[in-house]
């Protein structure tokens, strides 16, 4: 079957990484927009959350879809990591990287795994929080804790590093590599992760420092 052949091929697995990465990126775009309402007021944020959860079926379908995308991304990513390690572990006595700025690409599995830890904490903290407390209150309570907020900020540092290779890498895998657009892509690969960082980490910072005490 062509689909099985595609999935077992090396390029097919790269496509799964890139396609699931694209969906996660799109999810981040919606998530960042929703969360940015925190900067307006707790009321706006609460009404955004209430509006979202007044459509339980949509939330359920999207959550399950997102879970599937995450699982695909994580399992194929880890599979490739172990497969590549078997091929290449300590091949040379001296190993020099010629490419500059290779930190993000070398640490993809590690920044990814840190994100996984973050996700578990995040989902248990917010998604499965007691339904008796308003979500706008939970957010403030949890993130007012210095170490909780610090952990969040570290999570977003990992996300920024992960995407600073991932965004470009995704487009390369899809076959977008053209001298006319490469400069634009290289800039977007810096600007987009930084934008996510500013908004997401900004929220943690907002409550951590007490700026958002009476939001």
């Amino acid at each position: 079957m062509w689909f099985v052949r595609f999935l077992v091929s090396s390029i097919g697995k790269k496509f799964i990484m890139a396609a699931s990465g694209l969906l996660l990126f799109l999810f981040l775009c919606t998530h960042v927009a929703g969360n940015a309402t925190i900067f307006m007021s707790s009321k706006v944020f609460q009404s955004y959350a209430d509006e979202l959860h007044s459509h339980p079926l949509i939330v359920l379908v999207f959550s399950l879809g997102l879970l599937g995308v995450f699982l695909a991304h994580i399992f194929v990513g880890l599979y490739l990591f172990y497969q590549n390690r078997a091929v290449s572990n300590s091949r040379y006595a001296v190993c020099t990287r010629v490419v500059k700025y290779s930190f993000a690409s070398e640490t993809m599995p590690y920044t990814g795994l840190f994100l996984l830890v973050f996700l578990v904490v995040h989902v248990f903290g917010f998604t499965f929080s007691p339904k008796t407390v308003l979500i706008s209150v939970t957010v403030q309570q949890l993130l007012s804790n210095f170490f909780y907020a610090l952990f969040y900020i570290l999570g977003f540092v990992a996300l920024t590093i992960h995407l600073s290779h991932g965004f470009w890498s995704m487009l390369q895998t899809f076959g977008f590599n053209h001298p006319r657009y490469n400069f634009l892509i290289s800039r977007l690969t810096i600007v987009i992760p930084l934008f996510f960082f500013l908004v997401f980490a900004g929220i943690a910072f907002y409550f951590m420092t007490g700026l958002g005490a009476s939001y």
């Binding site: 062509w2 052949r5 595609f6 077992v8 091929s9 090396s10 390029i11 097919g12 697995k13 790269k14 496509f15 490739l80 497969q83 590549n84 091929v87 290449s88 091949r91 040379y92 006595a93 001296v94 190993c95 020099t96 990287r97 010629v98 490419v99 290779s102 690409s105 070398e106 993809m108 290779h165 470009w168 890498s169 390369q172 895998t173 899809f174 076959g175 977008f176 590599n177 053209h178 001298p179």
Partner: protein
């Protein structure tokens, strides 16, 4: 003429089954006009005179076009200079007193035959799987009977510059052979002559590449940084598209 003194640490391994290890050699009075391979020739002459086994290494044209030579020097395939093969790397890029660590190209798909000599026939088998155009022989066609836009011709020539040395695999942190394979797929996919077998070629060559036990690309870009012919990873992007289109519509 300047000359330099070097300490060489070279990987010695009698055959694929034997355990290998580094041997250290002191080499004095190396002229800086020599190529890296000529420097190894001087070492081998010395070893032969001492009744020792000379260091085995691959080479043929010694002018950077055949793709036979190659070793990893101080952790970089084909040595520290950009866009040159080992045979075209000159000793003027090194300094007296340097210690050079010389290792064979390593990959799961490259069995070591002896010392720096590795078996890269896995790359040949990728070519055999589809890196050709089938033509029924006949009279020589007239020049320019097939019009080719010059931009296409240039891109195809850029890809065709690959000499199949295999340094891309040796330098890839994952041991992937995507740069080589993508150059060989691209050079034909870009030309009218390559259209008939275009889809089957992409499928067959990628399948063979996977079968040979190369690693999986994670877009680390090391291959294009060491490639002596400056093959761009734009070819890998093109190969991904070729493979995707082919698998959606063929087989």
């Amino acid at each position: 003429m300047t000359s330099i003194n070097l300490t060489l640490k070279i990987w010695r391994q009698p055959n694929n089954d034997a355990l290998g290890g580094f041997e250290t050699y002191l080499l004095d009075g190396i002229h800086t006009d020599m190529s890296f391979l000529e420097m190894l020739d001087v070492l081998n002459e010395k070893l032969t005179k001492e009744g020792k086994d000379p260091v085995a290494f691959d080479h043929d044209c010694r002018e950077g076009i055949c793709g036979m030579c190659g070793a990893v020097v101080d952790g970089v395939a084909h040595g520290p200079e950009k866009e040159v093969t080992l045979c075209q790397l000159h000793m003027r890029h090194f300094h007296s007193g340097d210690t050079l660590v010389i290792e064979p190209f390593r990959s799961r798909a490259y069995p070591i035959k002896k010392d720096l000599l590795v078996d890269r026939s896995a790359l040949d088998r990728i070519i055999q799987a589809g890196g050709y155009v089938s033509v029924n022989t006949g009279g020589t066609p007239d020049g320019n009977s097939i019009p080719i836009p010059s931009q296409q011709a240039e891109l195809a020539m850029d890809a065709a510059a690959c000499i199949g040395c295999g340094a891309c695999v040796a330098s890839c942190p994952n041991g992937a052979a995507m740069l080589f394979t993508s150059a060989k797929i691209s050079q034909l996919a870009l030309l009218p002559q390559g259209q008939v077998e275009r889809k089957n070629r992409a499928l067959a060559m990628v399948e063979q590449m996977d079968k040979e036990g190369f690693g999986n690309c994670t877009n680390a870009k090391e291959c294009e940084a060491v490639c002596p012919k400056g093959i761009s990873i734009r070819n890998i992007a093109r190969m991904n598209k070729e493979f995707f289109k082919a698998i959606l519509t063929e087989g």
